[in-house]
Structures are given as structure tokens and as C-alpha cells.
Amino acid sequence: MAMPSTGHESPANGAGAAALLAAGIGTFLMGILTAWAEASATIKGLLVWYGPAGPLTGKTGVPVLAWLLIWAILHAAWRGKEVNFRSIYRGALTLILLGFLFLFPPVFEAFGR
């Protein structure tokens, strides 16, 4: 079946791949940092950005800032280019699922024992 004409050609897939991969890296970093904070009292202390809310502020703040920075870099590098979307998508999905794993309490709490 022919695609309906929308009057616009779709941009190259690079910007989309950059958004997906950055989201994957951000999620993975959040998981790693959460586990690391359990393992190290020093790291946990460094992540207290706002006392009343404790280390959660840094555990979420660092990955959010890193995600934005990585996204900006990847976007600048891949915008307007065709990239291997399938591999990047699979990589992003793997990072997201690994992030979920490290954000699961029985897993990240194991690093504190």
C-alpha cells in the first residue's frame, strides 16, 4: 500500500537514535548510581544535594544532567545522518532494562551488604 503524502519528507533517523540512546544511558546511569550509593557511604554523602530529601536528589540529579548533556552531544553528532537504528535501539533498550534491574530494591540493596 502506498504511503499517504503528508507533504513532508521524514528527517534522517540520527536524531531519533540519539534521543533513544541518551534515554537508555540516563536510565542505566541512574541504576548504577543507586547501586553505587548503597555500596559507598562516601558516594551517598556526595549525592545529598538537598538535605531534607537526602541522597535521592543526587542519585536522580546526576543522571538527569548527564542524560541532557549526552543527548545534546549525540544529537549534534547524528542529526541529519542515517545511522544503524536497529543496533542503537537494541543497545538503548538493553541499557534501559539494565537500569530497571539496578533500580529494583533487592538488587541495589545487595550492594550495601
Binding site: T6, L56, F85, L103
Partner: protein, 170 residues
């Protein structure tokens, strides 16, 4: 009937922002699913994109408002050192401690993934627009990310509702 400031923020965080997020998800998912050339005319596609953009950006913004208000306003009341705080109360009783050590610990962390994924989805929908209808792989990837954003928010929301029942913020 009275509602304290803390109670009001808890309701805003969990029910108002969360409810808007859920509504935006339902509309967004339906929009993304039906974004196929065989299901819509070119005119329908253009009209649908306007609603879809509004839906996904509403979802992303609500996700940010929910996690920021939760972490910086509501959470400090929950985890206060005061023995009457919800965290202290739950941990003091072995029968309820798991609500904190598992429920709250999962909720407070996984909830922050939702705005990251929802923002990526909002960007993809805005950037590619009707082009998503032509690119199956990109549309599928966007839909998967959208569902994952919802799943993380659902975990946070469900535990939030239960925690507010077993250890309410007063």
C-alpha cells in the same frame, strides 16, 4: 472536612498530576498505535499529529512536575527523622517495614525514569511528526519507550497509593 497543606500536596502529587499523566498516556498510546498509513487519511494524519503532540508533551511535563514535587516537597515529610513520620512509623513495625524497604525504595527511584523516557517520546513525536507513520521501526521504538515510561510511573503510582494508606503524610 479539612485538608492540611501536606495532605493537599500529597493529593496534588499523587492524584492530580498522576491522573493527568494517565489520561495523556491513554490518548497518546491510542494516537501512536493508530499512526499507520493504512488507518488514516493524509488529512486525518495531520489532524491527529496536533493532538498527539499535545498529549505526549502533557505527559512529559506532568511526569517532571510529579517527580520534582514528590522528591523536593512530599518526600522530605515522609522521611523526616521525627518518630511520627511515615518512614519511622513503617520501619518501627516489622509487619509494615517492607512497605518502606521495598515499596518506597522502588517507587522513589523508578519514578524518575518516567520523565526521561516520556521526554524522549515527546521529542520523537515532535521531531518526526507525520513521518512516524511512514517509519515502522521508529514508530515501534517510540511506542515501546512510551509504554516503558508508563510502566515506571505505574509502579511509582501504585506504591504511592498504598503507602499513603499504610503510612499517610499528616
Amino acid at each position: 472536612m479539612t485538608l492540611t497543606l501536606r495532605g493537599l500536596w500529597t493529593v496534588l502529587h499523587g492524584m492530580v498530576f498522576g491522573a493527568i499523566f494517565l489520561l495523556a498516556f491513554a490518548g497518546g498510546l491510542a494516537g501512536l498505535y493508530s499512526l499507520r498509513p493504512q488507518l488514516v487519511t493524509p488529512e486525518g494524519l495531520r489532524e491527529r499529529m496536533t493532538r498527539l503532540r499535545a498529549g505526549v508533551w502533557t505527559m512529559a511535563i506532568m511526569a517532571w512536575v510529579t517527580v520534582i514535587s514528590g522528591t523536593y516537597i512530599v518526600y522530605p515529610w515522609y522521611r523526616a527523622k521525627d518518630p511520627a513520620s511515615p518512614r519511622s512509623t513503617l520501619l518501627a513495625n516489622p509487619a509494615t517495614a517492607l512497605w518502606h524497604t521495598f515499596g518506597m525504595e522502588w517507587k522513589e527511584h523508578i519514578g524518575w525514569v518516567a520523565p526521561i523516557l516520556a521526554t524522549a517520546v515527546a521529542f520523537l513525536v515532535s521531531y518526526y511528526g507525520a513521518g512516524l507513520a511512514k517509519d515502522d521501526r521508529l514508530r515501534r521504538a517510540t511506542t515501546v519507550l512510551f509504554i516503558l515510561a508508563f510502566a515506571t510511573a505505574a509502579v511509582a503510582g501504585v506504591f504511592g497509593a498504598f503507602l499513603n494508606k499504610v503510612g499517610p503524610i499528616r
